[in-house]
Amino acid sequence: MSEHDSVDLKPTPGDRLANFYKRSDVIQSTIFGVIVTGIFVILGGKFYTKWMPTVMSTDMKAIERLMVVFTWIAAPVCGVVLGVALYTFLNRHSGDTQPPDGPATRTNGPIVLLWSVVTSLLALTAVIYGITELNSSSIASAKNAEDAMVVNVTGSQWVWTFEYPKLGVSSHVLMLPLNHPVTFHINSVDVNHSFWPVQLGVKVDANKLAETIAETTPNKLGEFDVKCAELCGLYHAYMETTGEVMTVDDFNSWVVAQGGHSA
């Protein structure tokens, strides 16, 4: 089609705008979008806090908060996508013959620009927030607090062993004193494992001859699970044990009962 032929067919810019932002389309998609966004905002606060296990450390608290905030960041995206999807779905053409042609909109500069900018900003928000949290979490900076208790964690097929070098105790359950920073030095004697004390919000791989370090401070009394999060062979599923966060007194008496000397 040459330039000259198409000139007559071209609608005026005003026509095109009116056609693109058709009132009923805008209203319907906005209503659906707002409803969906609202649902996701509410779900964001509920889903993870409902299903995630008891929070037993500041790290775990931060993780839970992250999940909630990310759901909120995502909520408007869901709103836009599902808003448009739902309204067109309801305006569908029924019948066995194909529908008449819709408007020949090939692009819309401002919309493309706006979309790119907004999604970039949302991604940027997620990045900035994530990096801030990362900076304060244990894996980035094993801060090695002066008074931190060291626990050597050893993964072997298919058992966890916890050694408290300063206390002269070794155990297959992980006992930790309340509100006392602890530094895990994690190793494996065979294949890769992944040390995961679930409620403490810590997870680091155990590699052979390459020690990894993680730090946390348990802040709630109670039992927690220790699992292996890296497929490590036959009995991977059963490579789990329990741990307990106890008061300092209880912890000391446990250490003594195990034949160690209390700190």
Binding site: V84, G102, N192, A210
Partner: protein, 620 residues
Amino acid sequence: MTTLDQHVGTRPIPNPKKSLITKLNAGTGLIVGIIFALLTYRGLSTVLDISIYELNNRVLLATMFMWSIGFLAGIGAFIGPIRWLIGEDLTAEEQLYLAGDGQGIKRYFKYCTDHKVVGIQYLWGVIVLLAVGGAMAMMIRTDLANPGGHFITPSVYNSLVGLHGITMIIALIIVATGPFGNYIMPIMIGAADMAFPRLNALSWWVLFTAIPVLCSAWFLGGIPTGWTAYAPLSVQAGPGMNAFIAAIIIFAISTAVSGANITATVITMRAKGMTWNRVPIFVVGATLSVAMAIPAFPTFMLAMIMTAMDRSFLTGFFDANVGGTGWLYAHLFWIMGHPEVYVILLPGVAILMEIVPVFVRKPLFSYTSAIVGFAGIVGLSFLVWAHHMYMTGWMPMLNGPFMVTTEMISVPTGLIFLVILGTLWNGKPWLKVPMLAVYAFLWNMLVGGITGLYLSDVPADMYLHGSMYVTAHFHYTLMGAALTGAVAGLSYWYPKMTGHMLHERASYISFWLVQIGFQVLYLGMFIAGAEGQPRRVVDYAEQFATSNKISTMGAYTIGIGFIVLLWAVIHSWRHGKIAPMNPWGAKTLEWTVPYPVPLVNFDTPPVVTSDPYGYGRSAK
């Protein structure tokens, strides 16, 4: 003039009926392949003591590769190259014979160079792989239906998880580019065939030889590693691991051949007038996908070769005792592994982008954004691999940068959403099954993308990594988005590939069963993951019982849905409603050719004067 011409000219033209080529097919391939394998095994096992770990591994690997070579020799893959070696080529008659015209159903079991035959071969290959992988998934979910259930042993379970994974990954890598990339794409760009028809046949039959190799893992004790095959677990593993290694190496060769072929075809064989801004979006997506695979898969192959060396020659690439490291494996694996998920995703998305304009009767919204989105994904996908390694302890200081690149991918992915939503905007979609799949994609990709956001974030990943949450997330993207796209492509192009319409009611029923079952299955799995259930476990604590039961019910629903679809595909192949030439009223070139598609596709080469999205009334 030249001596060569005279030489060729004076030779009697062999009668193609008596040529060796006419006698070879998959049957002779099987026979020669098995003979090669048996001879290799018997020969080597007399020389090498197979009770020793590394010697046994050598014997098994050699046997598997010789099977593959033997099969290809037996089906006639090497006749052409051997002729070249002695300064000749196949005669015109032989080439025509290889194209398989007029040979009926037999040509599907031959080394056939016709891209349409290769497309159908890939289609059935994919269906078989998906059926096998799906059956494994059903067994996994049956085992996980109840805590403490001992439906299968841990050893069988681990093998199931690994083989389900790799079978589905292979199936999904070829699910769109195999059938549609081979059958439809050349017609879509107005070409008579692929750029390298013989390589096309080679890519399929090489892939075919990988399937029995992979299956043999079952009979060699299974694989304990999952499809990621992390070292040092893979080095410790039993003889079944050899099957995994050999299958991956053979598959990587197939994808390299196929990728080079598709890329070359799209670059050089487009119809007159099909400038780069007039190429149908499916062609762009499929080409970028295979172009991404070309640099990505060799690293997986390399990782497998190194694993094989560690196992067969006791080298120490991944052995910490002698200075190696498993991190090296993880790097090589994920440098393939992350581009690979987009290799799977792009063609599926591109199919849906091809479908939306047809069923909404509007031009594709912002073609440029689609290209930028695809290109952005391709570029970024090579810079994000270490987000799979946040928790390995490899280099925590790089977690931040990898988090940034990973979250940046949401921007080009957002453009893909924009293109589809923009095309839907102001439209009245015609909700045939392919169009329904677009809506399923929007929801599934949204969930998959957003859960990916949590996983890309280091602190959140610290909790979610290695849990069922990850499993649910990547099934949403790979199955919910990519496979949904491919199934949509099947019902969209089925009329052109078989001459019949796909049974409509059955495909509706299948669609809803699969999609509803899918939501149920993975909602349960998201919950299990949030609760803290690790993935790849044969058994779990009582607290995860409810969520797992929900998942298993969803899985069975999906299983039934796919059985319905399989019935529809088989039934409609012969008995479906006869399809008109252009049942959807689409404007791409494949709908301008009749069924059966002529050998060279077009009587006269088409000339393209616009892009294929000229739908729509003028806005007034």
